[in-house]
């Protein structure tokens, strides 16, 4: 108890926990839809393009925030509009356009770092972020952007779920499936751009994918799934920030390891329960192709 009080007496730890909580909530909710929409690859690319964006902004002497938002937003629009089928159907493979964007992003990212005669610390910061040394102003900015993103996501949640699961029926019911697909990518881009400034380009992806994927293994209920996903992400982030305080290892390593362990446990548990339960007669389970 006293150690917790000691930990919270440091403003940088308080801000790390605050920022971590906001990042966890926004990634877990966005990520739940991203995983359900099978847009993990698009999400990965959106996370990565923050890296060349920030590197380019630093090279031009601008705030990295411009680079994060500019590049993530642009990439979301490119992925969403260049590929007319992007995210409009669960049954379609993600297109090569996303891979193209990603390859290009990484290449120019390293080019920018090279042009800057960059020190390696800067590179590590862009890729892995830092939970320490977050200012109050950064926390407020993070809260505003993340809050807006979550509110907008909440507003479009139901039609987005409909368009994800059943695009044709949704379109017939008057849901703007295509607009929602592009809108969601853009929203994801904004959320990623804001969180990547704290977590770095690589770690944001871990939080976007692992807790939602774990939640979806655990339950098929949409509301419960989102709640579980948020709880997992927040729990993992807190544990990681505290663990990093007492050890010489970085926060990101703990976040990823803990999330991965939760995912592996959930999968294992489901496998076992399916084995032991298998009450369904085989005949009913077979779907003639």
């Amino acid at each position: 108890m006293s150690s917790v009080r000691q930990l919270l007496s440091y403003p940088f730890m308080v801000n790390a926990l605050r920022a971590g909580t906001i990042v966890a909530v926004v990634s877990a909710t966005m990520g739940w839809f991203m995983v359900l929409r099978r847009q993990t690859f698009a999400g990965h690319t959106l996370s990565l393009v923050g890296f060349p964006g920030a590197a380019g902004a630093i090279l031009l002497g601008l705030s990295p925030a411009f680079g994060y938002f500019g590049f993530c937003g642009l990439a979301a629009l490119v992925i969403g509009s260049a590929d007319p089928q992007a995210g409009t159907s669960l049954y379609r493979q993600e297109s090569a356009i996303i891979g193209t964007v990603q390859a290009m992003a990484i290449a120019i990212g390293f080019l920018f770092v090279g042009l800057y005669h960059g020190n390696l610390n800067g590179l590590t910061g862009l890729l892995f972020g830092s939970f320490l040394g977050i200012t109050n102003a950064q926390v407020v900015a993070l809260l505003v952007v993340a809050g807006c993103a979550v509110v907008v996501l909440g507003a479009i949640a139901r039609p987005l779920l409909f368009a994800t699961v059943d695009p044709e029926v949704a379109a017939a019911a008057g849901v703007p499936v295509r607009t929602l697909a592009v809108g969601f990518l853009l929203l994801l881009g904004v959320a990623v751009a804001e969180t990547a400034q704290i977590t770095g380009a690589l770690l944001v992806f871990a939080l976007l994918v692992l807790p939602p994927a774990t939640a979806q293994v655990m339950t098929g209920r949409p509301a419960l799934g989102v709640v579980l996903s948020v709880a997992l992400a927040v729990g993992v982030t807190w544990a990681a920030v505290i663990a990093a305080y007492y050890t010489p290892y970085p926060t990101g390593a703990f976040i990823t390891t803990l999330s991965f362990a939760a995912y592996a446990l959930a999968r294992g548990a489901r496998l076992i329960s399916e084995r032991t339960r298998s009450t369904r007669p085989l005949a009913a389970a077979q779907i003639p192709a």
């Binding site: 359900l36 139901r158 044709e168 077979q286």
Partner: protein, 310 residues
């Protein structure tokens, strides 16, 4: 006179389905429970006159006249590529007509979309989709609304309607399981429930029996007939094979060779009617077990695109 009128007697065979429901014994529109749903004077659930659909300069079908009596179960039959699914899209207002007009539930197509339940053609849900069947049904009720559902009376009522729709298709036993885990027949029942949950007046089903085995095809067709009877819902269903569903049908629409014929099954699926529809000699044979077989029907794309070239 254009080249597309060379089919002899194409207008004469585009028979309406009869305004008087008493014409065919299967139609139960005269049941008192069925009538009030149709806002009094509505005579036809679907009414098309001289309808034509083209893609670019290729005419898919034209001069199609169609009447579907409220509360009946109609199947849309015909070879692959004849334009059966497009007919449903026309009724939904998603595919504009090149000529003619179509009225659905007494209004131009697309106007009454809220009163239509639609089940598109699909393979099946992604096997790894972790969403309960009941959630998929719920999307049919309020999936188009903005915001998230909040607990309260409206939410309780919504859940009651979802449960009722699930009961109507006898899916209580598996509706709580992830839809990806279910069999094709189970998934099909749930998407029918999704289309029914808003209490539609018209149900449009695109090959809902496509990936079901024969026993399940008959069972789902029987279920759809029962719902049509009990709820007074008009059903228009695209089907690949008429045989498993024939006992349950009130009407058929046969789409082939750029035209369509509509009427009761015993009048439409005959050697004479189908021969004049195709414009070529086809034969309808009845096997010893009562199955109908259409023999000698030319493949539509080749015949049709050539016929409308220039």
């Amino acid at each position: 006179m254009t080249s597309d009128r060379e089919l002899p007697g194409s207008e004469a065979i585009a028979v309406g389905m009869g305004v008087d429901p008493g014409v065919h014994p299967g139609a139960h529109v005269d049941e008192p429970t069925a009538l009030p749903k149709f806002r009094g004077a509505l005579q036809q659930a679907v009414r098309a006159r001289d309808a034509e659909v083209r893609f670019g300069n290729r005419i898919l079908w034209d001069h199609v006249d169609l009447d579907v009596v409220p509360g009946t179960f109609a199947a849309v039959l015909g070879p692959n590529g004849a334009g059966k699914s497009t007919l449903l899209k026309v009724l939904l207002g998603l595919q504009p007509l090149a000529a003619g007009r179509v009225e659905v539930l007494g209004a131009p197509a697309g106007r009454e979309r809220r009163c239509i339940g639609y089940v598109p053609q699909r393979k099946s849900f992604d096997r790894t989709l972790r969403l309960r069947g009941i959630d998929v049904v719920r999307l049919g009720l309020d999936g188009g609304r903005w915001g998230v559902p909040v607990p309260g009376r409206a939410n309780r009522e919504a859940r009651a309607s979802v449960e009722e729709a699930v009961r109507l298709v006898s899916a209580e036993g598996f509706a709580q399981r992830p839809i990806g885990d279910l069999s094709g027949g189970e998934q099909q029942r749930l998407v029918v429930a999704q289309a029914l949950v808003r209490g539609p007046d018209l149900l449009l089903l695109d090959e809902p029996l496509d990936n079901l085995d024969l026993a399940n095809q008959g069972a789902v067709a029987k279920l759809i007939q029962r719902i049509s009877r009990e709820r007074g819902v008009t059903v228009v269903m695209v089907a690949h094979d008429v045989n498993p569903i024939l006992p349950y049908l009130d009407q058929v629409v046969y789409v082939a060779a750029g035209h369509a014929v509509a009427g009761v099954p015993s009048e439409v699926i005959t050697t004479e009617t189908l021969s004049s529809l195709y414009g070529a000699r086809v034969e309808v044979l009845r096997a010893s077990d009562g199955r109908l077989v259409v023999v000698g029907a030319p493949e539509p794309p080749a015949v049709h695109s050539d016929r409308h070239a220039q």
